[in-house]
Every structure is written in structure tokens, then in C-alpha cells.
Amino acid sequence: MLLFMLKRLGQTLLTLLVLTFIIFTLARMTGDPTPLVMPSEATDEDRQFFREQYGLDRNLAAQYVIFLNNAAHGDFGVSFRFRTPAFDIVREAVGPTLSLAGSAMLLAILIGVPLGCAAAVRRGGRLDQFTSLFASLGQATPTFWVGLMLIVLLAIDFPIFPSSGYGTLAHYALPTLTLGFYASSSIARLTRANMVETLKSDFVYMERVLGLSGWSIVLKHALRNASLPIVTYLGLQFGLLLGGAVVTERVFAWPGIGQTIVDAILYRDYPVAQAAILTTAILFLTVNLAVDLIVMALDPRMRDA
């Protein structure tokens, strides 16, 4: 168990190292930030000074080593655009993103899991058909379209929620719905598939024949067994919500990390891009580490393996 943890941690660190390389390369690939950062009035000297100031004139290998070394000490450099520490900008954005991803996840679970369960229990029924339609639609509809439609519907035509922005609880409604719609569709589909499998398994049949109550069988035994792959998937899904929420964040003017990254990439703000992507990646890896632990807690077989 402890060894497993250590091994996972070691793997995670290795993954992080690979990540830093990819991130560094991606950032440099986008090109020179100087024209974006310096006003057109700036002289060549000013430009050169900027490059020197941020070490952009060194060779890439040296830049990478410096980046790694600084990152290891928690220093991601200073944003080219805002001239403030890159990590401060990222830190500001993490909260909103985490809370949005969290609430969307919660919504998705609250919708997806019961729907998937119900569909699996009544396989082939109306609800099952609805679920498969819901799942397909959820995966075939672009997020920004859902977001804009929700704004039109629930903020303008029926002004129930604020259209966008970040602040009060009400502001969570529409972005959560938008993200949750996408996430819940895949969760519903997965839950259904796993529940169908589990409900076919011998032990469920055994419990039926032993006369245990239907609820206890479905919710306690079948769902718990089916939840193992679902939990693993939720971990991956959470990653998507963390960084994939860019579109939603933009539509709802949510000051999250997705937008931070998009802006940073578009403005070649390497320090912020690197810090932000690395932060999401670390969050993602942490969540997945936690997921492994949850799976281990849920599945005694894992503990002995």
C-alpha cells in the first residue's frame, strides 16, 4: 500500500518531468513574445533589453534548465504581460476554476449516476432511451453553443440567473449547467454500461435469490462495484473540466485558469502559460492520485495486490 503510493508518486514525478518538457517546448514553439509585449513605439534597444531581461536571448537548453530549476523552487518567473509574478496570476485563477469544475462535477454526478443507474435497471425502457439520447446529445453539442443558449434562455428570456461573471453563488448556475451537461452525459453513459454489466454478475443474482431488497442490491452492491471504473473515469473527466473549461470560462467571463492559459498562449506569455499548465497538470495528477486511493479504498482486491 505504502509502496504503491510511493511508486505512484514516483511515476507522477516522472510524468511531471515529461510535462515540463512538453510545456516548455510548446511555449517556445509559439514564437517570440517581444512584439506582443513591447509597444510599436519601442526602439530596437528596448526590445533587446526586454529579451535579455527575461533570458530569452539564451539558448533553449539553458532556458529549460533555468525554468526547471526555478520551477522546482516554486518560481515560475514574471509574467511578460502583467509584469507580476506568474504564479500569482495563476493562483488567482485556480480557485474559480476548481470551484467551477467541482460544482460541475457534482452536478454531473448527481445527474449522470442516477440516470445511468435507472437506465440500467430498466434496460430498454423509456428512461433508458432518453438516457442514451441525452448522452449522445451531450457529447455532440459544442459547449459554447450550450452556454450561449443557456444565457439566452435563463438569463435573458427568463431572467433567473445572472448571465455571467464570478462572484455570488448564483453566478455558478449557468456555467455549472453548461459544463455539467457535457460531463453528465458521458457519466450517464458510463454508469449505464457498467451497471448493466454488474447487474448481470453472479453476485447480484445471488443476492436476488437470497431475497435481499432490490434497493440494497442496486445501490449498495451493484453501484459500488460499478463505481470502480466510474471513479477512475471521473478523475480523467475532472482533468477535462479543469483545462477544457476554456470555452465555458470565456462564454461566462469566468476568471479561471483556462482563460489564463489561453491568453498566456495567445500573448506568448511563457511564464504564465508554463505556470498555469503545470498547475492544472499537477491538479490533474493529484486528483488522479486521489482517485487511485479512492479506488483502493473501495476495492479490497487492490489493497492486497
Binding site: M1, L2, L3, F4, L6, A305
Partner: protein
């Protein structure tokens, strides 16, 4: 008639390292097979019986070189097969030794047609297509399936038929030896009989050497010329089939045979006592925790195989006394050394 193969195992031992649970302790190891030796003569069958988990499959896998023994040696027709081998030697080994496993469902790739499955070992040897086709058709006839069915997929066959296909594949390269790990346990009684009859006739016709693993003593006896009884990783008794199965001497074999023969009434031969844990094997004789004859010597000293009476070898300190009925039943001996 091809000449069968001689296989000799000496002092085979296999340890498995389990995954570590604590950082501060060495990873636990289980000894799955310990000090197992035997020789199988060409054209004969060695039957292996014993409790579930006693290491039969592990022995089989070592014979097949699917598992490398921790120690011990293995020779095929007098040539060592464990050390480094030239590719030619490796190929010869593959061609000489083939296997049939217990589960007819997982033994055949579900997405390949039966004829491709059977022909695959030949294909791997670079035999040309026409020759493969002819040989495959012949094999289907030989195992009693009929050559018409050879283009079907595995799922279109019943369990017994699949096992025939598995046997046909094992025979395709004209091996001299087959390792059969419970080849009929998953089959129906009636189909079992068909397969066993097939195996026997194959042996007679082709002079094959078999190592046969089974639970059903009657079946083991049907095929085997020699029988080894395993308990907890060790060979506790080995000898001619007629001797071992008719007049077992080791206390474990005695019980096994008694129960399986059906000659006794239900419940007469219950084995009591603690099941030994592979993580913490008992000292001395591994059977002492369940043996009614166990005494302090059994706790202290590991019994070695030795020849007793008519020629079977038994690993028990008290064989003679037990055989002669002079050893009192003192009950199993629990606890550690």
C-alpha cells in the same frame, strides 16, 4: 512412429516474489514448488495430482519454460534446457514440447478461424501454405472433429470440440511430449471420456510422452504410468500409477485416494487441522498441520523422498509404521517451530 522424449527434472524450486506491503520488510516470497524431481520415460505418462494450489501448474509451466525455476535443472533428452540456448536449440525445444491447458475457452483466440489456430505453429516454422492446409485437415480428422468444420470460429464449437482443437494445435508440429494441465476438468463427463480416449490413442499411435495434471484420480490412473502426489509445493509420493493409486503410503495420498475412490462413506475421511499459509510455511513436514500421525520429529525435520517397499518413493518419516498400522493417531500438530 516418432520416438517420445525423456524429460528429467531435478530439484526444481520456484519462488514467487509477492508485491511488497511494507516499506521496511523484505517483500514476501512464496515457495510454490520446492525440491521436485522426476523423470518421465519416452512414451509414458507422469500423472500429477494434489491439492489445489499445491504447485502442479507451476511445475507444468516450468516444464514448458514459461516460468524459470529459481533453482534446479531440467533436461530434455539429456540436453539441458534451462541454460542459454542457441536459437536452434530453442526451436527444437518448442517443436518437441507442446501443451494443452485447462480452459478450452481461453485457449483459442476468439477472432481466428479454427484452421488458422491449428496451423499457426506450422506457420511460425515457415511451412508453406499448401502443406499446412493438408496437415490441418489431417489433424482435424485425427482428433475426431472432421475436416469440414475447420473453417469455423471457436465460438461455434462446444467445449469438448474446442479442447480437441487445442489438442490438434499441440500436435501440429509433431511434438514428442505434451504437458496436459487439467485438460478435461472443464469438460462434461461424457466429453471427458472422448478426450481421454483420444489422448490415449494418440499416445499409443505417436509414442508421445505426457505429463498429465488432474484432480480425478480415476482419470489420472486411466492415462498415467507413473503418478506423483504433490502437497504444498512438494512431491510427497511418486511411483508407478498402480502402486500409488492402489496402495498409497503417504498420509496425504492415503486420504486423497480414499476419498476419491468413493469406496468410503461420506465424511469418513475428513481432513481436519489448519491449512498452511504459503507466506509462513510450517517447519519440518508441511503436512504435519493436518496429519493425524504427526509428532515432534515431523515438526523438526523435513522428510525426504525415499524408496519404500515395492518401489514408490514417499516423503514421510513414519511411512513404514503407518503402513504397518503401528503408528497411533495423535492428531495434527499445529503451531510453529
Amino acid at each position: 512412429m516418432t520416438e517420445g522424449a525423456t524429460i528429467t527434472a531435478t530439484g526444481l524450486r520456484k519462488e514467487f516474489t509477492l508485491s511488497q506491503r511494507s516499506l521496511f520488510r523484505k517483500p514476501p516470497r512464496v515457495v510454490a514448488v520446492d525440491d521436485v524431481s522426476f523423470t518421465v520415460a519416452p512414451g509414458t505418462t507422469l500423472g500429477l495430482v494434489g491439492e489445489s494450489g499445491s504447485g502442479k501448474t507451476t511445475v507444468a509451466r516450468m516444464l514448458l519454460k514459461l516460468e524459470t525455476p529459481t533453482s534446479g535443472s531440467l533436461t530434455l533428452n539429456g540436453h539441458d534446457v534451462l541454460g542459454s540456448q542457441t536459437p536452434e536449440q530453442a526451436r527444437t525445444f518448442r517443436r518437441t514440447v507442446q501443451a494443452v491447458f485447462q480452459d478450452p475457452y481461453s485457449a483459442l483466440s476468439p477472432r481466428l478461424r479454427a484452421d488458422r489456430i491449428v496451423g499457426e505453429p506450422l506457420e511460425a516454422q515457415g511451412v508453406e501454405h499448401a502443406a499446412i492446409d493438408a496437415r490441418v485437415a489431417e489433424l482435424f480428422d485425427q482428433v475426431g472433429l472432421g475436416r469440414e468444420v475447420r473453417h469455423r470460429y471457436p465460438h461455434e464449437f462446444s467445449g469438448g470440440q474446442r479442447q480437441r482443437i487445442a489438442i490438434a494445435r499441440a500436435l501440429s508440429t509433431n511434438p514428442k511430449m505434451l504437458v496436459l494441465d487439467e485438460p478435461v476438468s472443464a469438460l462434461d463427463v461424457s466429453v471427458r471420456a472422448q478426450i481421454l480416449a483420444l489422448l490415449r490413442s494418440m499416445q499409443e499411435r505417436l509414442g508421445l510422452t505426457y505429463v498429465f495434471i488432474g484432480h480425478d484420480l480415476a482419470i489420472v490412473r486411466y492415462l498415467s504410468s507413473m503418478v506423483g502426489v504433490m502437497y504444498f509445493g512438494r512431491m510427497v509420493e511418486i511411483g508407478a500409477a498402480s502402486d500409488v493409486l492402489r496402495q498409497p503410503l503417504h498420509p496425504y495420498s492415503r486420504r486423497l485416494v480414499a476419498v476419491a475412490s468413493g469406496a468410503t462413506r461420506l465424511g469418513d475421511h475428513r481432513i481436519t487441522g489448519d491449512l498452511p499459509s504459503p507466506l509462513k510455511p510450517p517447519s519440518g513436514c508441511t503436512f504435519r498441520t493436518r496429519c493425524v500421525y504427526a509428532d515432534e520429529r515431523c515438526r523438526a525435520e523435513i522428510p525426504r523422498l525415499r524408496v519404500v517397499g515395492s518401489g514408490q518413493q514417499v516423503a514421510c518419516h513414519h511411512v513404514e509404521a503407518i503402513r504397518d498400522g503401528v503408528k497411533p493417531e495423535t492428531g495434527p500438530l499445529g503451531g510453529d517451530a
